[in-house]
């Protein structure tokens, strides 16, 4: 088990180093930041698919359904990344919004369903106090995001679709976080605590990435190979490791 953590840490250090010194190879980093995400998402889909194969019995079986949702969500994000890579690497454009956003947004639905179904199974273990604190934490985070992002997004005066997307991503991230942190509370002391910690980390990193990406886009400072891209790659890596550890522990 230690091997996967060491390998992940080395990958993270390698990615940070690669993006830090990008000034020496700007063309390569522009290529890499678009070519690598479909690969890492594809790997995450495969790991999730292996778990699905392991837990699958029938659709009415709760664990089977949960892993089907997880795999569908990751698959849609993989398609989103592949479409984005097609735009940037083949067509040479940086469109936002684009068809990739349709897949990225669609991916949130099965992912949210998977997290909700999983946490609901064990929801009876949560006390009212925990639920209240959780609600308060989610509310505080939403207010924080609203102040940090919504005002500049609305002031940017983009077209309605872009503005809606800019607001939708952080909100969808927060909706995932509102469920995942409950999972962490439930499983923290058990073997499943490790994968749930990793899922939480992935969602937190993804939320930060989306907030910074939108802020950078609004300010017009985003470019292919921007340091933000490494955060998305961390998030996918964390999802992949989370699903691997889940299958190993349970």
């Amino acid at each position: 088990m230690l091997k996967i953590y060491k390998l992940s840490l080395m990958t993270i250090i390698g990615l940070v180093a690669l993006y830090t010194f990008q000034g020496y190879y700007p063309e390569f980093i522009a290529f890499f930041s678009n070519a690598f995400p479909p690969l890492i998402t594809g790997a995450a889909v495969i790991v999730s698919g292996i778990s699905l194969e392991r837990y699958w019995r029938r659709i009415s079986d709760k664990f089977s359904a949960i892993w089907l949702y997880f795999t569908c969500g990751l698959f849609l994000w993989f398609v989103g990344e592949a479409v984005w890579a097609g735009y940037t690497l083949i067509m040479g454009v940086l469109p936002y919004p684009s068809a990739a956003d349709v897949f990225w947004l669609a991916g949130y639905i099965p992912f949210f369903m998977a997290l909700c179904s999983y946490v609901r199974l064990f929801g009876g273990a949560l006390t009212r106090k925990t639920l209240f604190l959780s609600l308060a934490a989610t509310f505080t985070l939403t207010i924080f995001v609203a102040f940090a992002l919504f005002i500049p997004v609305l002031e940017a005066g983009d077209d309605p679709v872009t503005t809606a997307l800019n607001i939708a991503y952080p909100l969808l991230d927060l909706s995932l976080f509102s469920v995942t942190h409950l999972g962490l509370v439930i499983f923290w002391k058990g073997k499943l605590g490790k994968p749930w910690l990793l899922i939480n980390a992935a969602i937190v990193v993804n939320t930060f990435a989306d907030i910074i990406f939108i802020y950078a886009t609004v300010q017009g400072v985003y470019y292919s190979g921007h340091m933000i891209d490494v955060l998305y790659q961390f998030a996918y890596l964390l999802f992949m490791v989370a699903f691997y550890v889940h299958a190993k522990e349970f």
Partner: protein, 107 residues
């Protein structure tokens, strides 16, 4: 006394089977695997040492074990046709003792 205990034990084994089904068949199989692999136990051994099942569930699910235990207890009470009343201060073992006591009073 022996017959009453035999009924209780049979009902408990069935309740473990039914309660763990909240995880789906695959989830239940994994719990049984953990029970066998890490504790050398089968579901048939649960009545003789229910604490092992509690430990195994807590080891896997942490606080979430409570939700699984509650489903097992509900199944047990239903199988024995006993009145189930949720008590916040009760843990799994206390519910089992309560069921045994109720069963004794009914006879």
């Amino acid at each position: 006394m022996n017959q009453r205990m035999a009924t209780f034990e049979k009902a408990l084994v069935e309740a473990v089977d039914e309660g763990l089904l909240m995880l789906g068949e695959s989830g239940r199989e994994v719990v049984y695997f953990h029970l066998r692999h890490y504790y050398g136990f089968t579901k048939e051994d649960v009545p003789s040492n229910p604490q092992i099942l509690v430990r195994c569930l807590e080891k896997i699910f942490g606080v979430g074990a409570r939700a699984v235990e509650r489903d097992i207890i509900k199944s047990l009470y239903r199988n024995l046709k006993l009145k189930y009343m949720e008590k916040k201060s009760f843990d799994f073992i206390e519910y089992l003792n309560e069921a045994k006591a109720q069963l004794k009073d009914d006879k």
